[in-house]
Amino acid sequence: MTATQSELQTKEANLVKRVCDGDREAFYELVRPYERLIYATAISVVKNAADAEEAAQEAVLKAFSNLSGFRGESKFSTWLVQITYNEAKMKVRKAHSHLYESIDDQENKEGDYWPKDYADWRPIPSELLEEKETREAVHNAINSLSTVYREVLILRDVQRLTIKEATVILGTSAANVKTRLHRARLLLRDKLAPGIDGCWIKGQPYRKVRPW
């Protein structure tokens, strides 16, 4: 049986109080369920594992120092993700800001998106994710998306945040979240489709694209 949202909030509020009273172990208990969430948030922005870990851990330390500022108006997880997101953004900006932003802008075109026509889509079975090659292919496809698409995709489809939560973290409108997510998903489909015959593993080109 899973705890309901209000039970979770009560539990977290108690932990927050314990931390503020000086119980450091309680803080670890508080963030532990969200480790994957914050790591995925960080990697959606910085792309590589080492920087993502650093940003995620910095964010947790920051959350610890600023815990008294958490008022419980949002979910604790949303607050934590928001700090992580900002921390990761700052890291990217410090490292090589101009490079990232200009590439993103070029890809961030408006207008309708025409999905490529693959004659048939044979589903990529999730069991294939047991294979390292498949995980890497999905990972690389996500990483090849520009930041605006990658971050919304990770917040919504990896972390399963609601549209409302995503708007808070990204500081944008629900309409923007939906449009970007839409584009991100279709782009990802185009990027992954050539692998559906197992071509990632065999290293062969995909032959079933219709010529129009």
Binding site: F27, E35, Y39, L61, W121, L153, V158, K178, H182, R189
Partner: protein, 86 residues
């Protein structure tokens, strides 16, 4: 909606209109009317059905916990950092 033989008929929509809403369709972020139009379209259009299936498949893969695995020792290192805080 147009009246046809005593019942409401679904207005046909184009492939482009369907693509525009595929993501919202998967998230159930569209009106009932649009959903019905899209479903009618999917029945007749193999291409759009392939786009829908592919997108749904991709969303499922991305959401699988195995894609974003945390680096080994992440928790341990985090715990140690927290212990070192003044």
């Amino acid at each position: 909606m147009v009246k046809k033989e005593g019942r409401m008929a679904t207005i046909e929509i184009s492939c482009v209109e369907v693509w525009r809403e595929i993501s919202n369709y998967l998230d159930e972020e569209i009106s009932l009317e649009m959903r019905e139009r899209m479903e009618a379209h999917f029945k007749a259009c193999a291409h759009c059905t392939a786009v829908l299936d592919g997108t749904r498949n991709v969303v499922g893969l991305v959401g699988d916990g195995r894609v974003f695995q945390m680096p080994d020792g992440f928790s341990k290192r985090l715990y140690e950092k927290l212990q070192k805080l003044p």
